[in-house]
């Protein structure tokens, strides 16, 4: 992996091409969202190549989840563009972005509590990737197997433990058949061994060809999976590059690790 420049005037597409990637799956251009005077996203430019795994870190309130909301479409940007496979999807509604290939999991798990675990996936598979119920059944069973939820398939999602809910978040997002999987603090609140299992699962998902963008506070879990880190603070991208390089930079240590310590 080469270096990822962050200097002004450097086109991310060129950077990608220089590094040998040919397809940009996701790109944001000058993406901005203000809540009153709070800049939740302040001109964010970044790209993710197909097959890549990118980590996003930053202090609380840095705008990480807002960025996901802008990409997945449950928030409309004030300005800027979101491109998926080169197509501008900034004005598409959330359900169309889902159909276009964006799957998203929530930081605080939000399962459909009155549906069973299996039904949670079935809804996502039928509507998200437009499968028939018959065709979706096998896909959903496979995902439940992959995410370790198969034995809980027929219990109401409302009765799951925290780890299981986090897994369901991921499983349901996968069931929509995403090209791009957005994971929002999926390792938070887990024990060390649970976190280990989760990392193995996410690596498996990536090995299956799904592109991943992962917001996480637990840096060691993140660097075990991602090729590249992006650091956000006050809605701005302040650093981007190889995980070791980024975590070693003085600015990141001061802003991010300083707060975390």
């Amino acid at each position: 992996m080469g270096s990822w420049g962050t200097g002004p005037g450097r086109n991310p597409r060129e950077t990608i091409l220089l590094d040998g990637f040919h397809t940009m799956l996701l790109e944001t251009r000058r993406l901005s969202k203000f809540f009153g005077s709070v800049k939740a996203a302040d001109g964010i430019d970044f790209g993710v190549a197909a097959g890549e795994a990118v980590g996003i870190i930053g202090p609380n309130g840095a705008g990480k989840s807002t960025l996901f909301n802008l990409i997945a479409g449950n928030l409309a940007a004030d300005s800027g563009e979101v491109l998926l496979e080169g197509k501008d999807i900034s004005h598409l509604e959330a359900h169309r972005r889902c159909a276009a290939g964006i799957g998203r999991s929530y930081q605080i798990p939000l399962p459909f509590e009155n549906l069973t675990v299996f039904e949670n996936l079935l809804v996502a598979a039928v509507h998200g990737r437009g499968r028939s119920v018959g065709g979706a059944t096998d896909v959903c069973a496979g995902i439940l197997e992959q995410t370790g939820l198969i034995r809980r398939a027929n219990v109401p999602a409302g009765s799951l433990t925290l780890l299981e809910r986090k897994r369901l978040e991921m499983a349901r997002a996968l069931a929509t058949g995403p090209k791009l999987l957005l994971l929002d603090e999926i390792a938070g609140g887990l024990t060390e061994s649970e976190c280990h299992e989760l990392v193995a699962t996410i690596r498996g998902i990536r090995a299956g060809g799904t592109t991943i963008v992962w917001i996480e506070h637990i840096v060691h879990a993140l660097v075990a999976v991602v090729d590249r880190l992006i650091v956000l603070n006050f809605g701005r991208k302040i650093a981007e590059g190889h995980p070791a390089t980024v975590m070693g930079s003085a600015e990141v240590r001061e802003i991010y690790m300083g707060l975390a310590a």
């Binding site: 449950n74 509604e93 159909a99 009155n114 549906l115 509507h127």
Partner: protein, 289 residues
Amino acid sequence: MTAWIDTLLQGVMLGGLYALFAAGLSLMFGIMRLVNLAHGDFIVLSAFVVLVLMTALGLDPFLATLLAAPALFGLGYALQHYLLNRTIGRDVLPPLLVTFGLSIIIQNGLLEVFSADSQRLKAGAIETASISLGGGIALGTMQLLTLASAIGVILVLNLIFYRTELGRAFRATSDDPEVAQLMGIDNRHIFSLATAIAMVVIAVSALYLGMRANFDPTIGPARLLYAFEAVIIGGLGSLWGTLAGGIIIGVAQAVGAKIDPEWQILAGHLAFLAVLVLRPRGLFPRAGQ
């Protein structure tokens, strides 16, 4: 003793009518958290639609309702798609205001077109037919049919909810509309289908409302009140609960009327109050609500 059993049975069957009134309201509230204040007026409007079809084509009320149902399905879809979807959001006030406005518009529109005269859907011999159970107890065929229809409607709605893909989407959207959208569900389409189905249920309620009693353009709000009480007694979002709620109000009214005819309406409201005090979330509250 016989008189009391008779009262109880009459109450249960009256409850069937209230459950029919309530089913459409329960459906819309359960899926969209939308309180349709014009629900009673839509029942009256549908009764007039059936009446017009009967008069124009010389049909009996059942056939006329069958004919009206697809049109009302379409009306429901359009109403939700073009109007009510715009009002749904985190704030509960806009849908209340808009449906309250609809209630006034429908009442006055009907008054303008049909005048304040009482109307009835004439069903012929079935109106007075009855089945004898022996021991001096007889059940009106029409009353029995009402209860059977209420059970049938709720059975069908439950089948849709728990046995079809559309129902799964209804339940998912009801749990969390925002997340449902991220799972690829087009909320607005799902909501429009919900209202469309509710309008068909409303058509069935209108049929029995019109055959069992006189109606005029102004009686909608009172039907809304009974429907409301039935939904809340049963527990928000539970269709079988709504049936139970309707029957509780029906029995309370029948018992009240038996003691003193002036107590009929009051007794129903008192039963509602009692349930609110003892089980504020209703008899069959849904998990996680």
